[in-house]
Symmetry: C2
Subunit: 194 residues, 2 copies
């Protein structure tokens, strides 16, 4: 791993554990196996490490990747689709780097670092767009009849809340996946055209 990537990687871990302000450049350097001053060959400041870290993360591993063919095939059976989609979301969110990233964004939410405004919405924007797309399609096909905006929130917010409240503490338990499944079934039961 290149030094720059190494710095970003250990910084994510440290920021997530201790918070951005409470993490020192010295700690980062030690964890990256270099001297403090060498950090400044890669970043102009501690702030810049955070900014680059967040920019990087938002581009790598996009949520849409979990929408593979296998999952899209299930769209003909919506309850199956929502159950599986929820599970894939939770699986993605349970990856260590995702847990760390969630932790970091929460702890710095609505703080302004240079030009960057950190907000919880960073964690969920893309997922919202995807679900809105899917529900819009379902509405066109008369599978559902309520407002797409409302349904998107009704489906996603319980999952989002699981991410924020229950998935920021490892290890992640099977019961969390059970919760998500129950919610998904309840959701479809209520919104399908009767």
């Amino acid at each position: 791993m290149k030094t720059r990537e190494k710095i970003i990687s250990v910084s994510l871990k440290l920021f997530s554990n201790y918070g951005f302000a409470a993490t020192s450049v010295r700690q980062i350097a030690a964890a990256a196996g270099i001297r403090e001053s060498s950090i400044y060959n890669h970043f102009h400041s501690k702030d810049e490490i955070l900014i680059e870290l967040i920019k990087n993360h938002s581009q790598l591993n996009p949520v849409r990747e979990i929408l593979n063919e296998e999952l899209l095939d299930k769209l003909s059976n919506p309850v199956d689709f929502f159950v599986s989609f929820s599970e894939e979301l939770l699986k993605k969110w349970s990856l260590p780097e995702e847990v760390q990233f969630t932790h970091l964004i929460l702890s710095e939410h609505f703080r302004n670092i240079g030009e960057l405004k950190i907000s919880i919405s960073i964690l969920f924007e893309e997922t919202r767009k995807i679900v809105k797309l899917i529900l819009t399609e379902m509405k066109k096909n008369k599978l559902i009849e309520d407002e797409v905006e409302l349904l998107t929130e009704e489906y996603l917010t319980p999952l989002f809340f699981i991410r924020l409240e229950k998935m920021t503490l490892l290890p992640i338990d099977q019961s969390i996946f059970d919760l998500a499944q129950k919610h998904s079934r309840f959701f479809w039961q209520n919104v399908k055209r009767r």
Copy 2:
């Protein structure tokens, strides 16, 4: 206001703005209108200010106070009740000190300060208990039939998420109350015994 209360009050504001670690005892002293060293006549350390602040807040202004008679009278018409209850919750959460407290808990969530473990759940435990009580009663009276645990989460998590995502930035907009009302109607529409 006594000095001790003043310190707690300005600390909440500062911690919520800059984060606990990034707020200095000097800033607190300046905002409280005293010298740094005088802080230590009231608290043994900066950590202790945070601990006392959180302990205090959890005891003052309990959620159950919003369950006044007027609201309880509406229980005979559940959709009215849930709409009003949601509105009262949001009103409470929109008070400046509540917004600041939310901000603080989020930014320090799952950090351990001395013996105190900070968690998002602090923000929601009491509300969950109250709603569970109400739904249990409704189930006894055959107004609903689904599992109380599931319904509690289905009703509350969208509201909780509004608090975390939308109410940590002032000013708070009428559209947020509209969202909550839509959700409350949708919820009751789906859970009432058919």
